[in-house]
């Protein structure tokens, strides 16, 4: 036995210890009482602390490297890349294996998915019809103008767009640097990508801020906690790459290969496991309530915790009608505002609908979106609307959950003979045959399909399309999570999600009729019986 456990300390000593302990506690209590209440809840980690730690993480001060002192020729991005590669010898090789470079998701086993392939959307439709040069502003390379671009030249990789920390770097057509950028200054201050680096492209999908995703826009950089609890500086102050973890420049999370939900953990110590599912950090049972936790089996976290998308100040595009594009005033394109002050018409796009704070549409989703490509033949369903990327999943699918989506509607051209979508040439000057120069679909489509190397019958029409955008960013603080009754009632948010019995929503009228009828009959019987007793004087 341990004698120290058996023999209590002498009484006087105990008294002293107890008194000291008491005084210590008292001081602590007083300290608590004097502390002002924290003004804003800081989430799991105070932003400043997280970022101080990040600052310490770098082991090199790039301004000390001679090779980055320059001078670099105006707009000579490749020269900077060559300098980077003298130390980071494998970086370009790594980048070139990713879909950020190829614009094809072949590295994730989905060859043929990505912007440089036959994928089609209902915003700008496709880049391969001759629009590459202006779209490649967002390519992490230098000089991606057309099919002739050399995807194997290492110096064509643009290191700066992702690693610039100054905010001064800017890309132009074909992804070349703006000649006004002081490349040496930018190169000396490179660091880990922040939200702004990712945002310069990913916030501006569809040709403008907030246009495409609905849950990603420029406002996130200055978002209040209520807009995005993770990325807000008043929230957790997280960066995109905190969840989209990279491993040798391979960043987790292309839209084409995201499982709906999963719990990711490193397979061995030190492996950079992606944190792209909520559960990777929050566990799959983060609520105090057992019943709430069990919702996880069929309901994605995002469904309750993202009550609406486009919650910043910017509207997102909900409808884009190419068929109405091309109206001109005095031979010139024009724009018009709608009642809300958003761009209701633009000659180069057609009629459009924009909105902020939009309630998502909910669908079963197992992480697979069945994308339609320019090479797939389409069948127009009864409602006349082709879904470009239907979500796979149902109640019976154990991997599927109810997910929030932004539905993007529109009308776009297709080949009425071959029943395929077409890739028109849109971005080009007058006389080039581009739609925005010459306003002629016939020519724009023919030229586009020629450039893309795809067959075109010569006959085109327009068809209604819908595109699905899974909503996963702009997670709201827990106080803003949906209350039960948003879904557990008739005509609630999940009214359209079928295949299962939802308590509160699917209350059968027949059952209520029988039940209330039974109660009514009993009540009436009792009433009549009671009244008869009363009138007979025997109550």
């Amino acid at each position: 036995m341990f004698p120290s456990f058996q023999n209590p300390s002498p009484p006087r000593l105990r008294w002293v210890i107890q008194t000291l302990a008491g005084l210590l506690c008292l001081a602590q209590v007083q300290a608590w009482a004097q502390q002002p209440a924290p003004s804003a809840p800081a989430g799991h980690g105070a932003f400043l602390e997280v970022h101080r730690a990040k600052g310490r993480r770098q082991t090199a001060d790039h301004s000390k490297f001679k090779i980055l002192q320059g001078p670099f020729k105006e707009g000579d991005g490749p020269a900077v890349t060559r300098a980077c590669l003298t130390c980071h010898t494998k970086a370009a090789e790594q980048v070139m294996a990713t879909s950020h470079w190829t614009w094809n998701v072949a590295d994730h086993g989905k060859d043929g998915f990505g912007k440089s392939t036959h994928l089609v959307n209902n915003y700008c439709i496709s880049i391969i019809g001759g629009n590459t040069e202006s779209c490649a502003r967002c390519h992490i390379g230098y000089g991606f103008k057309d099919k002739t671009f050399d995807f194997t030249r290492q110096e064509n990789v643009d290191c700066l767009v992702c690693h610039d920390t100054t905010g001064d770097y800017e890309k132009e057509k074909a992804g070349l640097p703006n000649p006004g950028v002081d490349l040496a200054a930018v190169a000396q201050k490179v660091g880990e990508p922040t939200n702004r680096n990712c945002g310069v492209c990913h916030f501006f999908g569809g040709g403008g801020d907030a246009t495409k995703h609905g849950d990603l826009d420029d406002t996130i950089l200055k978002a209040p906690r209520s807009e995005d609890v993770h990325m807000s500086r008043q929230g957790a102050g997280m960066e995109c790459v905190d969840c989209h973890v990279s491993d040798g420049h391979r960043i987790a999370g292309p839209n084409y290969v995201v499982p709906a939900d999963r719990r990711e953990q490193a397979k061995y110590p030190g492996e950079a496991a992606s944190r792209m599912s909520c559960t990777a950090c929050h566990s799959d049972s983060p609520h105090k309530s057992y019943i709430l936790n069990r919702h996880y089996q069929k309901v994605a976290c995002q469904t309750c915790h993202i009550p609406a998308f486009a919650r910043g100040e910017l509207p997102t595009n909900l409808y884009w009608d190419w068929e109405t594009a091309g109206r001109l005033k005095n031979g010139r394109p024009y724009q018009e505002e709608d009642a809300k002050g958003f761009e209701g018409y633009n000659s180069i796009h057609g009629e459009m609908v924009w909105d902020r704070n939009v309630k998502p549409t909910y669908l079963w989703y197992n992480g697979n979106l069945a994308f339609v490509r320019l090479t797939d033949s389409i069948q127009v369903p009864a409602d006349g609307k082709v879904v470009l990327n239907p979500a796979e999943g149902s109640y019976a699918d154990p991997n599927a959950k109810i997910w929030p989506f932004k539905l993007h509607d529109g009308r776009q051209p297709f080949d009425t003979v071959l029943n395929r979508f077409v890739a028109p040439y849109t971005a080009g000057p007058k006389g080039s045959g581009a739609y925005w120069g010459d306003w002629n679909w016939e020519v724009a489509i023919r030229k586009g399909m020629e450039t893309a190397g795809l067959p075109y019958s010569g006959k085109y029409g327009f068809v209604k399309t819908t595109m699905l955008w899974p909503i996963t960013h702009m997670v709201a603080p827990k106080e803003q999570a949906l209350s039960c009754l948003e879904c557990h009632r008739r005509n609630g948010r999940l009214q359209g999600v079928s295949g299962f019995y939802l308590p509160g929503r699917d209350r059968g009228r027949g059952v209520d009729f029988i039940g209330l009828g039974l109660i009514l009959v009993t009540g009436l019987g009792v009433l009549v019986h009671g009244l008869m007793r009363y009138f007979h004087g025997h109550f």
Partner: protein, 207 residues
């Protein structure tokens, strides 16, 4: 006329706590169903409904133990004796001031209609509610483990709800029939105090 203890302490405790539990579960249950009640709020109604369900099951376990050990379960053995007379009494006799056809006795305090009704309540409605309630609660686990089809929850819910409607009807009838005693409040008082004045001494002498 003799005053006897008709309902013992535990019996009264059991009766009234069961009543309270069931009524609260009716209110929370119909709020969850979305029948226009807004008493607790959906989330609290759900938690309360589930907590009370556990409490009710515990109470029932004690009640079963009490019924078995005291032999009180014999009170619920159905009989056809005086059944016809009881029905006739409720349909006609009661309006004419006819005497109650069945005399109460300490060991036979329920008339044949009561025996049938309470036996049905205890062996049919309550077990159905407890079973479907448990299936409802554990449906996500069962669905996951046994690959139950989506329609099974629908079926569970329908039985649970129909049975709940039945309980409400039972409660209405039950509450009304308590007024058919010697005076309208005789039965109620007996269930509160335990004592009742029994008229016919002859029955009391039976063992």
């Amino acid at each position: 006329m003799r005053r006897v203890i008709l309902y013992e302490g535990f019996e009264r405790f059991w009766h009234w706590s069961q009543a309270l539990l069931i009524i609260t579960m009716m209110l929370t249950g119909f709020e969850i169903r979305g029948m226009g009640l807004h008493l607790f709020g959906f989330q609290r109604a759900v938690s309360l409904h589930n907590i009370l369900a556990v409490a009710l099951v515990v109470l029932i376990v004690f009640a079963i133990f009490w019924h078995v050990t005291t032999g009180e379960w014999r009170q619920y053995i159905p009989t056809r004796k005086f059944l016809r007379e009881m029905i006739a009494f409720y349909l006609t006799g009661i309006f004419k001031g006819a005497p109650h056809p069945v005399k109460k006795h300490r060991m036979a305090k329920l008339n044949p209609l009561q025996r049938l009704a309470y036996l049905g309540f205890k062996t049919l409605i309550i077990p159905v509610q407890v079973t479907t309630g448990a299936l409802y609660y554990y449906y996500p686990n069962l669905q996951h483990a046994l690959h139950w089809p989506a329609s099974s929850l629908w079926l569970i819910a329908i039985v649970h709800v129909l049975s709940a409607f039945g309980l409400v009807a039972f409660l209405i009838g039950h509450a009304y029939l308590t007024t058919t005693g010697h005076t309208p409040l005789t039965n109620l008082k007996a269930m509160i105090t335990g004592w009742e004045d029994l008229k016919d001494d002859a029955y009391l002498d039976e063992p």
